[in-house]
């Protein structure tokens, strides 16, 4: 479905942040992208969404080469990101935020209305607060709005960037439940997370990034049991304890 082939990227000339990363995301799959801060996880998602160019490599969606497409074209093709830190439109209401998620489908008024209903069923609390300004919501509620926005675009692939960041543990559970239901609907997800345990529970496969390179890749079970993940986060001292 989404094929990332030997993609490298850098913010400044000569300072590579991603080094020849390859990931194959199939339909109906959830892949967790793990790694410490600065490993390049968010950069990877930025490159896939077109917010940072690749210095080399290719990205294809169902065989279509999207490497050089502008960010808005990629969203039109169904590559939708739930960004790090939620990126709310703070001065606009919840309803306006969610509706704008459907910007790429704006000609399909009826379809949008249906999707909006579905989204409100998933997140009833958002319907209650639909006239509230997005900037005044809690972290967890904003995360819900962000996911709702992504769903409005009828995505073919969802890129999720640290959904548990700054969100209270109970709400994290709720959010991961929603991601779980997305998975059941067959939407492939590329999930970047610091919370390795939760991410691996949800995923089929996992990839571990370190200093911009893939250092381990395998099934979620393999990763959860391996020392690699533990040591990446907590150091060798913890492994085996």
């Amino acid at each position: 479905m989404l094929s990332i082939q030997s993609v490298s990227a850098s913010y400044e000339v000569g300072v590579p942040v991603l080094k020849s990363v390859s990931i194959e995301l199939g339909a109906n799959e959830v892949i967790a992208v793990l790694g410490a801060n600065g490993a390049g996880k968010s950069t990877l998602l930025r490159v896939i969404s077109g917010l940072l160019p690749c210095t080399s490599g290719r990205i294809t969606l169902d065989g279509v080469d999207i490497t050089k497409l502008s960010p808005d074209r990629r969203v039109q093709l169904g590559v939708v990101q739930v960004p790090e830190g939620r990126q709310m439109l703070s001065g606009m209401t919840v309803k306006e935020n969610i509706l704008l998620g459907g910007y790429v489908r704006r000609r399909d008024g009826a379809g949008l209305a249906t999707t909006m209903e579905e989204v409100y069923q998933l997140f009833p609390i958002l319907k209650e607060r639909d006239q509230q300004l997005a900037g005044s919501l809690s972290g967890g509620q904003q995360q819900m709005v962000a996911i709702a926005r992504a769903l409005m675009a009828k995505p073919r692939v969802v890129l999720c960037d640290e959904p548990s960041f700054g969100v209270a543990p109970l709400v994290v559970r709720e959010i991961f439940a929603v991601l779980g239901s997305l998975r059941k609907q067959g939407i492939p997800i590329l999930l970047v997370e610091q919370n390795a345990k939760k991410a691996l529970e949800l995923s089929d496969r996992g990839v571990l990034l370190r200093n911009g390179e893939v250092v381990f890749s395998g099934s979620a079970d393999e990763l959860a049991r391996s020392d690699a993940v533990n040591s990446a986060y907590l150091g060798k001292a913890v492994v085996g304890s």
Binding site: V15, G38, N211, Y233, G235, A237
Partner: protein, 600 residues
């Protein structure tokens, strides 16, 4: 260094400038004798050269794009004219009084506008320029309104009369040369370095000890003085002042002179002013299109030619430029500052108590307390968003504390500015690298050594006349900086531009800058992030050496192995709160810590 050495060094260092000046003199003499150029052009070029220098000081160096300098120019011109017409004052007295007025306005506006961010600063200064022009037009009883004023005396200074154009021209160029020398003194001094640091990154300039606000105001006032002098000369030369000369069109001409010549060079103004003065004669027959032509040229300059002519010439001749590093190679000794770190008066160097900071409804830092002993390494770890960098920002004065106390050897840090905290002995690096990208490696470190510039007027004046930061002192500062670089292992990159170094080395430059002042407490925010294994070992050794000299270190890192090896104690944070504080072995077994990282 002997005097001869000094001159030779300066000549090689400023190759581009000397080549240009000689070429300029030759070309101008040829054109004059051939009759292609009128002496009149030379005089007005000199006058505008002074004006361009004034703008280059604030924009090219401090990065403040003032769109109102024509206002200062106008006050200088009209001041002399009005005082001569109304009170019969001589040019000299009129000029001095206008200078004082302009400088005063410069100080006021400086303080008023300093807080404004980029666009608003431009708007404010633009408004000032237009207020002056409006005042001129409207207060016609005094200024003569649209008709202008005449009868402006020529200078009569200390018995010397400058009545003829030749004599006046000489005065103009002598003044320009003196002002140029003063400007060069500033820009080549520590104040100049501090200004360029401000332009590059204000926040880290403040963290390195530069009193940003005060320096900006003083430079702004100084540039107002330059513009005033230029205006007074202008008025006297033309023997008339009209509001037309101080309109938006004049602003545009000034900006074009600056950009054509090359902002940030000071001497670029010479080229820019000459070209702009000759241009009308070249366009001559197409006078109607002059405005359109100027606009198009300006657009082209901004986009295609941002360095300007002076900048281009300097780049072309760069390989002939003598590198200052070769003057005195590093001697393998420890930087003086490092060997002189004072011991604290008690057993505890840093005491943080119940530190709190919220952003809106979010408690980013929630009653965090810990202590640091001198010569110890304390690490701050925790998941993303735990509040670690916020704690560092609160300690270093980049953010204001809501409540709680921070005591550095008994000095309360809360409420102090970054540069004040820096002078109390705390230095830091930043999570998202904040180097002065427009400066070389060694210049970055020198700012650290010098504890910035305190931005005071006396310092500025001393540097201006070349006393506050003589060549000898500069060399000494360089030497200390070289010692730091040698310690870190970057000596051979001393004169490279920071932006040309790879990531790992840039992080080390930030480290070098931070330790250059010999701080008692060093805050390192993810400085080792992105370093490869060999670099990390080197980094660890360095930290060990610093601690051996009495420096305490608080560091944030994500590589837990690294943290465990390096730290004496570890503080773990999550959701803004401290959840653990102890020795590495204890922390690695702590249930709460495991839960925080891996999820429960």
């Amino acid at each position: 260094m002997t005097f001869r050495d000094q001159v030779a060094y300066l000549a090689r260092r400023n190759v581009a400038f000397f080549v240009t000046v000689v070429a300029y003199a030759v070309v101008v003499s040829v054109m004059l004798s051939a009759g292609w150029l009128f002496p009149d052009v030379l005089v007005t070029t000199g006058i505008f050269f002074i004006l361009v220098m004034s703008l280059d000081l604030v924009y090219g160096y401090a990065g403040l794009l003032s769109l109102g300098h024509i206002g200062f120019f106008a006050v200088g011109a009209y001041g002399v004219a009005i005082l001569a017409n109304q009170f019969g004052l001589s040019w000299g007295v009129g000029t001095v009084l206008s200078l004082l007025l302009d400088t005063g306005i410069g100080v006021l506006l400086g303080y008023a506008f300093m807080r404004l961010k980029g666009s608003y600063f431009m708007l404010g200064t633009l408004a000032f320029g237009l207020v002056v022009q409006a005042l001129i037009r409207v207060w016609f009883s005094v200024t003569g309104g649209d008709a202008g004023l005449g009868n402006i005396p020529r200078p009569f200074i200390f018995g010397a009369e400058f009545k003829s154009n030749l004599q006046f021209g000489t005065l103009v160029w002598i003044t320009a040369a003196i002002l140029f020398w003063l400007s060069m003194n500033i820009t080549r001094s520590r104040v100049g370095r501090a200004l360029r640091a401000i332009r590059s990154d204000e926040i880290s300039a403040a963290s390195s000890g530069v009193n940003v606000a005060r320096l900006k105001v003083n430079v702004f006032a100084l540039s107002a003085a330059y513009a005033s002098l230029s205006g007074s000369l202008f008025a006297s030369y033309n023997n008339a002042v009209h509001p037309e000369s101080f309109s938006l069109g004049a602003l545009l001409d000034l900006l074009m002179m600056l950009f054509f010549g090359g902002e940030g060079t000071i001497w670029g103004g010479l080229i820019g002013a000459t070209i702009m003065r000759i241009l009308p004669d070249v366009i001559g027959p197409f006078h109607a299109a002059k405005l359109l032509f100027s606009g198009i040229v300006f657009v082209l300059i901004i986009f295609l030619f941002p360095q300007g002519l002076a900048g281009t010439i300097t780049s072309l001749l760069a390989k002939y430029r003598r590198s200052p590093a070769s003057v005195r190679p590093p001697d393998g000794q420890l930087p003086t500052a490092l060997s002189q770190i004072p011991a604290p008066s008690g057993a505890i160097l840093l005491k943080v108590t119940d530190l709190c900071r919220s952003f809106g409804g979010l408690r980013a830092v929630d009653a965090v307390s810990f202590e640091v002993k001198p010569g110890h390494v304390k690490s701050l770890i925790g998941p993303n968003g735990a509040g670690k960098t916020t704690v560092l920002n609160l300690m270093s004065g980049v953010l204001t504390t809501d409540s709680g106390e921070i005591l550095l050897d008994g000095h309360a840090l809360r409420g102090r500015r970054s540069d004040q905290i820096s002078r109390l002995g705390m230095q830091r690096t930043f999570q998202h690298e904040r180097l002065f990208t427009q400066l070389t490696v060694i210049e970055n470190v020198m700012i650290g050594c010098e504890r910035g510039a305190d931005g005071s007027l006396s310092e500025l004046l001393l540097c201006t006349i070349g006393a506050g930061s003589t060549l000898e002192q500069e060399m000494k500062a360089r030497h200390e900086a070289m010692r730091c670089l040698a310690l870190i292992g970057l000596a051979k990159h001393a004169d490279d531009l920071v932006s040309n170094l790879p990531h790992g080395q840039r992080k080390l430059v930030e480290l070098a800058r931070a330790i250059a002042a010999g701080p008692r407490l060093l805050l390192l925010d993810e400085t080792a992030a992105g370093l490869n294994d060999a670099e990390k070992i080197h980094f660890k050794n360095l930290v060990g050496r610093f601690c051996a000299h009495g420096m305490a270190v608080v560091l944030i890192e994500h590589d837990t192995d690294f943290v465990m090896e390096l730290s004496d104690e570890i503080v773990v944070m999550n959701f803004g709160q401290k959840i653990a504080d102890g020795r590495p072995a204890e922390i690695s077994r702590d249930e709460a810590v495991l839960a925080a990282y891996l999820g429960s």
